[in-house]
Symmetry: C2
Subunit: 249 residues, 2 copies
């Protein structure tokens, strides 16, 4: 069956109704969400603001996030996937508030029937999880309402691998992906990478540029009051005994 339309939104403002959205924020929120599930958090609560995350503070919940690329002072963790891997699971749920990525997840949940979360880290797993018979939009989180190079790069990688009928924006992204020899080359050239270097967090650039090293695909389960609850997509648990699969749902 021929895959339907494949579209790319360079910023969350461009989102329109679609069957499946893949939200990407390569530097760094979508990489952090993927890494959080990989270290064992069963759920990540993506918040549209730091204030929303603070309201959700409770025992068993670990607050993480940044403003202006730096950890929110009263939060336990920042938005670093490398630090997330080092810290490991520290509670029942991660509550994440970032400038661009976590609000993009909440925004996409308002327009798409299903919302998956993609990064270079889980590139192959996301591609395997996408249905072949549904329209797909790659939603780039961007930076402060503007396109981000690293998100356009990943969007182009997804478009190139998906096939289907690309929109003009999808063709634009595809040319970005084919215009860099490696993921690291694209990420390192971005404005967000410059900001990470300026704040002493350059380790995350190479960390987020690693391709297909994690099998988990985060999916939004439900959204309310400016927050979206994310857990691993069911697709990955095909073949598991039903009971084990249910535990992930």
């Amino acid at each position: 069956m021929k895959r339907p339309a494949v579209d790319v939104c360079f910023t969350p403002q461009e989102i329109r109704p679609v069957e499946v959205a893949v939200v990407v924020d390569v530097l760094r929120a979508s990489s952090t969400i993927v890494q959080a599930l990989a270290v064992g958090y069963p759920r990540v609560v993506c918040c549209e603001s730091v204030a929303t995350a603070r309201e959700l503070r409770a025992p068993g919940r670990v607050l993480a996030g940044e403003t202006a690329c730096v950890r929110v002072p009263d939060f336990e963790l920042g938005n670093s996937p490398a630090a997330m891997a080092s810290a490991g699971r520290r509670g029942e749920e991660l509550v994440l508030a970032t400038t661009n990525g976590s609000p993009a997840v909440v925004a996409a949940s308002r327009s798409a029937k299903r919302v998956l979360i993609g990064s270079l880290l889980n590139l192959s797993a996301v591609l395997a999880a996408l249905p072949t018979d549904a329209g797909v939009a790659i939603v780039c989180s961007g930076t402060n309402g503007r396109p981000a190079l690293e998100d356009a790069y990943l969007a182009g990688r997804l478009v190139a691998a998906l096939g289907g009928v690309p929109s003009d924006a999808a063709r634009v992204a595809e040319r970005v992906a084919s215009g860099y020899r490696t993921p690291l080359e694209a990420l390192a050239a971005s404005e967000d990478a410059a900001q990470l270097r300026a704040t002493g967090q350059e380790r995350d650039i190479a960390w987020c540029a690693r391709e297909a090293v994690v099998e988990v695909v985060p999916e939004v389960r439900f959204s309310e009051d400016g927050a979206s609850v994310v857990s691993p997509a069911r697709e990955l648990h095909r073949g598991l005994p039903m009971k084990a699969a249910e535990e992930f749902a």
Copy 2:
């Protein structure tokens, strides 16, 4: 002197305050505006809507424009640069209302100190007219609020030629430009080209893909009531006797 920031807006919604904006709508409004000045219209009045153009109807004014890619029934001309070249000048002013390009000119005029209009037809002339000491944003008109491939291509050509400090969006556009061997290849792959073929206007695709064949640079002189008045930029008249230059002002 090093040129300051060079940015690209993939849709007019992304425009932010900037010193110089270059509005592009390769298929077809910016090509039509360039062609209109080239055949001798001293001014083109770019309208934000068909209704605005109708209100400006008056002797000496030629109404042109489209909705859904097709000529507005009560307008004398459509939005075809090829047809504009054949028809020649038919009045004192061309009043143009299109779906994306002419509203983008009006929108850019609200955010930029100077607004020039670019197309492949006048590519070299636009580059020569841009000041080297001012921030520049290439404003793509896009299609119904979404990015258009042909506009991203031209934006990338301009970014590559300008030098300066590119934003992430400018880097994205640059990769689009370097991803196609010829302008025609990029234009022909676009959704707008498909729409032109579907409405029997494919002649405009190759017409608009011709590079640097016209020397005129349209510039917005003033805007009011949802319309922007465009005439040739002064830069082109350097070296002319003062009186001749004044006639263009």
